[in-house]
């Protein structure tokens, strides 16, 4: 969440939401959370585990480009 919340401060376009997975099982199911941390960007790009800043940014840009998987 740390990188995500700093990104939110850096850009008006970015919103960062931390979700406590066990308190929201419906969301965890909907987003197929099997391991944490799990990051989902614009519901289209996702990854598990902490990524260094450049790779996290690449995921954000991938989501922004609309070519996620």
């Amino acid at each position: 969440m740390r990188l995500a919340q700093h990104m939110a401060v850096a850009s008006d376009r970015v919103r960062a939401t931390a979700i406590e997975a066990t308190e929201f099982p419906d969301l965890s199911r909907a987003y197929r959370v099997m391991a944490v941390p799990k990051i989902v960007i614009n519901d289209r790009v996702e990854f598990e585990g902490a990524l260094p800043e450049p790779q996290f940014l690449a995921a954000v840009l991938q989501a922004a480009a609309g070519n996620g998987h």
Partner: protein, 143 residues
Amino acid sequence: MALLNARDEAEVRKQLGQIRDPVKLVVFSETLSGAADLCAQNEQLVREVAALTDKATVETLNLAIDRERAEGYGIERVPAIVVEGARDYGIRFYGVPSGYEFSNLIDSMIVASTGEPGLSEETKASLQALTIDIDIKVFSTPT
């Protein structure tokens, strides 16, 4: 009973010393929902944290009653926390922030108070060039 012990308080107070400008923690609860206990715990935690700095204020809202405010913030579930600095930067917490997320709550208050993200110039430039909205969800667990 306090959620933060004396040692936690001392550590958090030290970290919150980095807050520069005022921050506001907007807490959403729903007393009649199944999440009432978690909402009460969340509200208590936020109040205990805010009491450790003179630069944080707390506003508590009810998801069922303060619907316009909830919509404005895009809050759909409880317990929830919005961390605001000079403006709403889009930082949200769903669920009681404990463990790792507790550290992030404190960090979010500090970065919201300065408006200065700890990111490289290259990252900041890329983010400022975004032309569509980006929603980042970070799922975690307390341990």
